[in-house]
Structure formats: structure tokens, C-alpha cells
């Protein structure tokens, strides 16, 4: 469906995107994930046509669109700021593209109402000023405006970043449902790993203008391809040489003592998990209570290892108390 072939994007001497190759399948919910300035939005904007690549080509359905003007690409976009026209009401914002394409008045009315239904905007809301809407409603208008022209690709540039945490979670589900119903190929840009993991069919993790790993959420999280991906997604423990040696002593697992090992904090427990657990004794340095769970920082022979325990009513550990941590050596990643 979408093919980025050897894409390079330069700003004077600064290389923002370096030799990017990526294929996105039809109907996929695909996410560009990475920290600020890693090139994810730049790549998205090159697909929409706002940025001209310095090198390489972009193909959509095997058609080279690299030099095609923005308005001819049939790609809908929701901006981070929503970019709603402040001088128009909700209806006119949604109908803007239809009016440009010179649709009849009746057709415009019909299409706007139908798309408003899809994004759950009421008829009364259609005639409100943009400034009278809440953040979530504005987001729905931006989405309606982007899909009304039935684009073959929908691009979402951090669309939830302006909303509060609870609303973000709610709209996340709605977005996914809408994408499934419409069957539209969707490109989603975010720096929020949780959003990426819950929404996406596949994720591309960006770092310094390059893609570090492409894969489904489970694979990205559990089989990170690089230290950067492992560190960027989720919370990790770094196991230095001495701890790696102790793991090898207890399990004979062929780990490299010269390299650091990485293990997710939820894969370390204060309770026994399996028969062949690695057992590490230490002392609680700090305890963070977070409602659903408690996070412990444990000193093990001078190294700090973190673990989380569900607050299920069982006793918790006090700071300074001795603790025994359990982990499975198969969960340790080395790069």
C-alpha cells in the first residue's frame, strides 16, 4: 500500500531522515513511535506532501506520489493542534473540503451529517463555534474533517496529546473502533508508548532519523531489537556484569558478562514465579505507592533493581527491609 523507498530528508546540512525504507499494508493501523525530534512527524509530513524528500521515493498503491501536489494525494490528516478554522463553525469546518471540490449543497449536508454521526457529534454541535467546543469535541471535528473526503490514507499527528489522561484513554478506543469500521489505512504519530502499544497493528520505532525496529506491539515490547527500543518502551532494569555473573552461576544461561543485560521491571518479583527462578537477595531502598501497585527499588550488592508488586492485600515491604527478588533468565535481553 505505502512504500517509503530510500527516503532522505535534509534541512541544509542536517539530515532529519536517513535512508528510510518501510512498507505499510492496506488497512493497517501503523504507528510511528519515538522521542521528540526523531523524525516521525517529518516522515508523516513527507507522505502527506508538506515536505519534499531530498532523496528517494514514496509509492502509494504502486504509484509514485513523491512529486504529486498535496491536494492530489487523497490523504486525510488530523494535526496535533487540530488546525480547525477559527472563523468557521463546526459544520463549515467539516464541509470545507467538500465545498472546495464543489459538491452540491444537499450532498454536503448529507455527508456532513453522516460523518458527524460516525464521530458522535450531535446536530446541535454542528452549528457551534469551534471555540465553544471542548478539547475532545474539537478532536472529533478534526477527525470528521479528515475522513469526509474518504481518503485512502488517514494520518494522525499526535492527535491525543492535547487532551487530559482520562479522555485520552477513552478516545483511544473510539479511534481504533472507527479505523476498523472504515477499514482505512492509518498512520499514527506519537511519543506515547502506551498509545502505540494499545492502538497499533504494527509499530516503527524511530531514533535520530532512522527506524530502529518495525513489528507488532508484542514483539517490540518483548523482543526489542536494540538497547534504544528496549529502554524507550516500558521500564527496564539494567543488569551490570556482577549480576549477569550471578545469573549465569544460578542458571548456566549463556549470557555475555561483558555486556549489560536488560529486564522489564514487571518481570522481576518479590514472589517466587517458577522453579528455575534466579534468586537475588537485597534490601528495599525506596517504595513508591501508586494505588494499583507498589514499585520497589532494591539494593542488590550495590546495584539498584526495580520491581513492581500488585497491591492485592498481601503485606508490603518497608524501606530497609530484606527482600528476595525472583526473575526468569529468559526475560533478560542483551544487544
Amino acid at each position: 500500500m505505502i512504500d517509503f523507498r530510500n527516503i532522505q530528508i535534509k534541512y541544509n546540512d542536517f539530515v532529519a531522515i536517513d535512508n528510510l525504507n518501510l512498507t505499510i499494508n492496506r488497512g493497517e493501523f501503523f504507528t510511528f513511535l519515538g522521542p521528540s525530534g526523531c523524525g516521525k512527524t517529518t516522515t508523516l509530513r513527507s507522505l502527506v506532501g508538506f515536505i519534499q524528500p531530498s532523496g528517494g521515493s514514496i509509492f502509494v498503491e504502486d504509484k509514485d506520489i513523491t512529486n504529486l501536489p498535496v491536494e492530489k494525494r487523497k490523504i486525510g490528516i488530523v494535526f496535533q493542534s487540530y488546525a480547525l478554522f477559527p472563523t468557521m463553525n463546526v459544520f463549515d469546518n467539516i464541509a470545507f473540503g467538500l465545498k472546495v471540490q464543489k459538491f452540491s449543497k444537499d450532498k454536503i449536508n448529507q455527508l456532513v451529517k453522516s460523518v458527524a454521526d460516525k464521530v458522535e457529534l450531535s446536530t446541535a454541535q454542528l452549528y457551534r463555534n469551534i471555540s465553544e467546543l471542548s478539547g475532545g469535541q474539537q478532536q472529533r471535528v478534526a477527525l470528521a474533517r479528515a475522513i469526509i473526503l474518504e481518503p485512502q490514507i488517514l494520518c494522525l499527528d499526535e492527535p491525543l496529546s492535547n487532551l487530559d489522561a482520562k479522555l485520552r484513554v477513552g478516545l483511544r478506543g473510539e479511534l481504533k473502533r472507527l479505523q476498523r469500521d472504515l477499514g482505512i489505512t492509518t498512520l499514527y504519530v506519537t511519543h506515547d508508548q502506551e498509545e502505540a502499544l494499545t492502538l497499533s497493528d504494527r509499530i516503527a520505532v524511530f531514533n535520530k532519523g532512522r527506524i530502529e525496529q518495525v513489528g507488532p506491539p508484542y514483539e517490540i515490547y518483548n523482543h526489542s531489537a536494540s538497547e534504544f527500543v528496549c529502554d524507550f518502551i516500558g521500564d527496564i532494569n539494567r543488569l551490570k556484569g556482577s549480576l549477569i555473573t550471578r545469573v549465569i552461576e544460578q542458571t548456566q544461561k549463556p549470557l555475555n558478562v561483558e555486556k549489560e543485560g536488560f529486564i522489564r521491571i514487571e518481570r522481576v518479583s518479590a514472589h517466587k514465579m517458577e522453579a528455575h527462578d534466579v534468586v537475588l537477595a537485597g534490601k528495599v531502598i525506596e517504595r513508591e505507592y501508586n494505588g494499583i501497585y507498589s514499585k520497589y527499588s532494591v539494593d542488590i550488592s550495590g546495584e539498584c533493581i526495580k520491581c513492581i508488586e500488585k497491591n492485592d492485600g498481601s503485606r508490603y515491604f518497608e524501606e530497609g527491609e530484606s527482600i528476595t527478588l525472583h526473575l526468569n533468565s529468559n526475560d533478560i535481553m542483551q544487544f
Binding site: V48, G49, F50, V70, E71, K72, R73, I75, G76, I77, F79, Q80, S81, A83, F85, P86, T87, F96, G97, V100, Q101, R145, L149
Partner: protein
């Protein structure tokens, strides 16, 4: 190279090319050529380079005295205007003064009552036959009826007429103070005085620097006040330039004086730019709280503050009230400077709407200022769009060229046009502009370009790029996006610019006096002529009416700008600009 140029031209399109050609012509013809030509006219005599003009300037006692007077005035104004300006802002924004809202109304009057109108008004009130002088003569019969003239009179008029910038910018700065910093100082035991001098006033320092330079420039380029109340004893550069420019023999000295004024202006603006770049003390507080007015606990200081505030109220409101009252009296009252019910009449106002010679200057000024205000807004929109859309060497050069008039005193711009277009010039298709009715319109447009450009450009930059991108992604053409998306957003700012420019042009005098068509005299010169000793009583009577109507129009225009959407305030915050 050639292909690259062709590609660029194709990208710009035929309309874009025509717009650029017109802009280049305009910039060369009106912003560059006249100024270069004027400099040439100073130093080239009979085709040869000559510095003789310096000797003639140095040997002219009048010119040297005017130069010295201008600097004396500028330095004295810096002190007096800053003191009065800071007091006004403290009285209205920081201290708890009873009746502050009414006081503020009077202090704001300079926004609608300025320039030649205010100088004329003060002369009518404090002049030898003025109401205030007659009143004083009753109390002190021995006093000189011509007391209101010379340095003191000019200083008095200008001190109270030049506080508009303080009212706008300093009030904004004081409102920007985070009140929690005041509370923190109080919490640490700081006294009222310590908070005022160590917490509040230091925050105003950057604005004060800029205002000081603006005041200095106003003093240096003073025209109306010295011309109307300066008398023989206190003339400054600009009035002398007018006198010298009238004769062919001394026109080069006038031009040299204008250039000296221009160099001083450029130097001071460069300093101001540096100060501005030094940055303001912007509150770093994330949850800023609004400033609360401070009670003066010391009873003596409190009485003193109230007395000063109300004295200033009388100084500001007095002349305006008297101008309004005298506008309803007959010429007898104006001649005698006495107010009595038997002199009351509405004939003056009726005359304004019925007598050709009475309403003609008004119509002329209205036409010129509306046309110029709209035209300059259009120029500013087009130039701003080119600057915003295309970040090329051409757009950068265009922007700097358009800002040239900001560096030059208006007298210098007028003289440049006079010395250039008093004969056929190829760039003007061999047309002589001097003596025509449209040279004044062109001059008004030129002088208002920098201010308008700064304001409109700022409004363009406040339009998020993503709005245009969103429209483009939905298939909208650049022209459609401009008309449907960008223009409606910047429209309030453009209207503000039109209203403010209209306001400042309607009674313009400094340029008008050089360039107006003899049969089409606008209000500025008419009002000034009415203040002359030899002016007819009828003319003097009508000036009161003109002043009242001018104040009304200006108030309406300001209400339109300030009262409705507050877009000007927002813009002023962005550009920190001034209306030249």
C-alpha cells in the same frame, strides 16, 4: 541557473510576478530614490561635489540655535514625560487612588487629542487672550499676558501630550507583573517603598528604556508645539526646516537639517533595538496572579498622591472641557476669552455642515486619511504575505526597504519627495508629482508602511501553518486558502491598523505642510493657520468645532479597535511596536 530561475518564476505564477514588479517599483520610486536624491541635492552643486552647505549651516545662527533647542527639548522631555508617565500609570494601575477610573479617562485623552490639535487647544486656553490667562489676569493683573510662550510653553504642552506611549506600554508592563512577587516581598518584610522601588519599578525598566528613546525622538522631531507656542524665542529643527524649505536658496540647509535629524533617529532606534533584544523581564510564573492595587498607608503620602493625581486630571481634562465649551460659543466669547450663557450657540456646528469653507478641510482630510489607511493596509497585507510565504533574499530585502520610513523623520521623507518629484523623473513615467493632489496620499502611505507592516506581519505569523496545510490537504488552492482561511483570521488586525492609521493621519501636519495641494488644504494646516495671531475670528471659532469632531472620530475609531476585540492590545504585545 537559467532553468532554476524559470522554475522559480513558474512557482510564483504570473500574478505573483506582477505583484513583485509593482512592489519593486514602489520601493525604488518612493522609498529609495527620493532619499538618495535628497542627499545628492545637499552635496552636489552644479554637477560638482560640494560641502559648502556645512559652512552655510554653521554660519546660520537661527539653524544652530534650533538644533541646540531641539536637543535641549529632547533631554528635558525625557525627564518630564517619564516622571509624569510613570505617575499616571502608578495612579491608575498600581496605587489605590479614589476615582481612578475617571482619572484614567482624562489621562487617556492624549490618544484622541494630540499633535497640532492639542498645541492649538493649549494656545487658545493659555494664550494671551485665552480663558486661563484672562482668569489669571484677574488674580495677578501685573502678569505678562504672553506668559505662555517659549521653552516653558513647549515643554508644558509636550510633557502632557506625549504620555500616550506610557499609558499603553507601561500599563501593559505593570499588568504583566506577577502579584505573587509583591506578596513574596511583603512576606519577607519589605516596606511599601521597598516593594515599589525594588520589585515593581525594576520590572518596568526595559519598557522605560524604549519609552525614553521614543520620547527623545519625539522631542527632537517636535513640530506643532514649537511652531504654535514656541514663539520667536524657542524654535526647533522641524519648524526651521519648513521655513528653509520654502526658499530655493536655503532648501539644501533644510535637507541637511533633516538628514541630521534622520541620523540621530537611526542611532537612537539602533540603541532601542539593542535594548529590546536585551529582553524584557517576563514573568516566569506558571500560575501568575493579577496585580492588586496597593493602599498607601502613610496618610501624608496618600494625600500627596491624591492631590497630584487630581492636579494631573485638571491639566489633562481642563483644555478638553474648555475646547468643548468654546465650540458652543460665538466669536465674541473666543475673542474675549470669557465664558457666559449669553455667548452659547450651536451655529458653529451648523456651519460645519452647511458652509463650504468650513466642511471642505474636513472632507479633504477624511478622504485622504481613509484612502491612505486602506491603501497602506493593502500594501502591508501583500508585503507581509510575500515575506511570510517566501523566505528568500528578495523578501528579506523587500522587508528592510519597506521599513526605511521608520528610520526617517517625516519632514525628511516629505523633503525627499519634494526635491525628487518637482520635475519629471523616468521612474515616475516623466510625471511631476509635486503640486498634484495625490503626492500627499503617497506620502501618507509611505510614512505609515513600517507600522502597518509590523502589525500585519505579526498577525500573519499568528496564523498557524497547520491551518493552511489542512486547507491544502483538502484540495484548496493557495488563493482560496488565502481568501477563506487566512484573511478572515487576520481581518481584525487589519481593521485595527486601518483605524489607527486613519486616526493619526486625519489631522497630520508635519508632512502635510510640505506637500498639500493649495486648493485642497487638509485640517492640519487649517488648524495651524487658525492659531496664528493674524487668523480671523471665524477661523479660530471653527477650530474648536474641528477639535471636538476630531476627538469624537478618534474616540470612535479607538473604541472600534480597543473596545470590541482587543486585537490591538494583543498585537501590541506581540510586536511591541509604535505607531509612527
Amino acid at each position: 541557473m537559467k532553468q532554476l530561475l524559470i522554475r522559480k518564476l513558474q512557482k510564483i505564477g504570473p500574478v505573483g510576478i506582477i505583484i513583485r514588479v509593482v512592489l519593486i517599483w514602489f520601493a525604488i520610486a518612493f522609498l529609495i530614490v527620493p532619499n538618495i536624491n535628497m542627499i545628492i541635492s545637499i552635496f552636489v552643486k552644479d554637477g560638482r561635489f560640494s560641502t559648502d552647505v556645512f559652512n552655510r549651516l554653521l554660519s546660520s545662527e537661527r539653524a544652530i540655535k534650533a538644533l541646540i533647542n531641539s536637543f535641549i527639548l529632547a533631554f528635558s522631555l525625557v525627564i518630564s514625560v517619564n516622571v509624569v508617565g510613570v505617575l499616571l500609570v502608578l495612579f491608575t494601575e498600581y496605587l489605590e487612588i479614589k476615582g481612578a477610573k475617571i482619572l484614567k479617562l482624562a489621562y487617556l485623552s492624549t490618544l484622541v487629542y494630540s499633535g497640532v490639535v492639542v498645541a492649538t487647544g493649549y494656545k487658545f486656553i493659555y494664550g494671551s487672550t485665552g480663558f486661563a490667562t484672562k482668569l489669571l489676569l484677574h488674580i495677578f493683573p501685573e502678569m505678562n499676558p504672553n506668559w505662555f510662550t517659549g521653552y516653558f510653553a513647549v515643554m508644558f504642552v509636550m510633557t502632557f501630550a506625549c504620555t500616550s506611549n506610557h499609558i499603553i506600554f507601561l500599563s501593559n508592563a505593570i499588568r504583566g507583573i506577577d502579584y505573587q512577587t509583591v506578596e513574596a516581598a511583603k512576606n519577607m518584610g519589605a516596606s511599601f517603598q521597598a516593594i515599589l522601588f525594588k520589585v515593581v519599578l525594576p520590572v518596568l525598566k526595559p519598557s522605560m528604556f524604549a519609552l525614553t528613546i521614543l520620547t527623545f525622538l519625539t522631542g527632537l522631531g517636535a513640530m506643532s508645539a514649537p511652531l504654535i507656542v514656541g514663539g520667536q524665542s524657542f524654535q526647533t529643527i522641524n519648524p526651521i526646516i519648513i521655513t528653509f524649505a520654502k526658499s530655493n536658496y536655503s532648501r539644501d540647509i533644510a535637507a541637511l537639517l533633516a538628514v541630521i535629524l534622520g541620523i540621530a533617529t537611526m542611532g537612537l532606534l539602533a540603541i532601542m533595538n539593542k535594548v529590546e533584544k536585551g529582553g524584557n523581564y517576563i514573568s516566569i510564573s506558571k500560575v501568575k496572579s493579577k496585580i492588586t492595587k496597593q493602599k498607601i498607608n502613610n496618610p501624608l503620602i496618600n494625600i500627596l498622591a491624591h492631590a497630584t493625581a487630581y492636579l494631573l486630571f485638571v491639566i489633562y481634562a481642563g483644555p478638553i472641557l474648555l475646547v468643548i465649551l468654546f465650540s458652543f460659543t460665538n466669536s465674541e466669547a473666543i475673542a474675549s476669552g470669557e465664558l457666559s450663557f449669553r455667548f452659547l450657540t450651536v451655529k458653529n456646528y451648523l456651519r460645519l455642515f452647511t458652509a463650504n469653507d468650513a466642511y471642505k478641510p474636513y472632507l479633504i482630510s477624511l478622504t485622504y486619511s481613509i484612502l491612505a489607511a486602506v491603501a497602506v493596509a493593502l500594501v502591508a497585507v501583500v508585503v507581509s504575505r510575500v515575506i511570510q510565504k517566501y523566505k528568500t533574499k528578495f523578501s528579506a530585502t523587500l522587508e528592510y526597504t519597506m521599513l526605511i520610513p521608520w528610520l526617517l523623520p517625516s519632514t525628511l521623507i516629505a523633503l525627499g519627495l519634494m526635491t525628487t518629484y518637482n520635475r519629471p523623473q523616468m521612474i515616475m513615467f516623466n510625471k511631476v508629482l509635486i503640486g498634484s493632489s495625490y503626492i500627499l496620499l503617497i506620502a501618507y502611505i509611505i510614512v505609515k508602511i513600517p507600522f502597518s507592516l509590523r502589525m500585519v506581519k505579526a498577525s500573519f505569523y499568528s496564523v498557524e501553518n497547520s491551518l493552511e496545510e489542512a486547507a491544502t490537504s483538502m484540495g484548496s488552492s493557495p488563493l482560496n486558502t488565502m481568501i477563506k482561511i487566512v484573511l478572515p483570521i487576520i481581518f481584525p488586525a487589519v481593521i485595527s491598523v486601518v483605524a489607527l492609521n486613519f486616526n493619526s493621519l486625519i489631522a497630520e501636519y508635519d508632512m502635510t505642510v510640505f506637500l498639500y495641494h493649495p486648493l485642497l488644504a487638509p485640517l492640519g494646516p487649517v488648524i495651524k493657520a487658525a492659531s496664528d495671531e493674524e487668523a480671523s475670528l471665524d477661523a479660530r471659532t471653527m477650530v474648536f468645532v474641528y477639535s471636538v469632531i476630531l476627538m469624537l472620530i478618534s474616540s470612535l475609531a479607538l473604541y472600534f479597535v480597543y473596545g470590541k476585540k482587543k486585537s490591538l492590545k494583543k498585537l501590541l504585545k506581540i510586536v511591541g511596536g509604535t505607531n509612527k
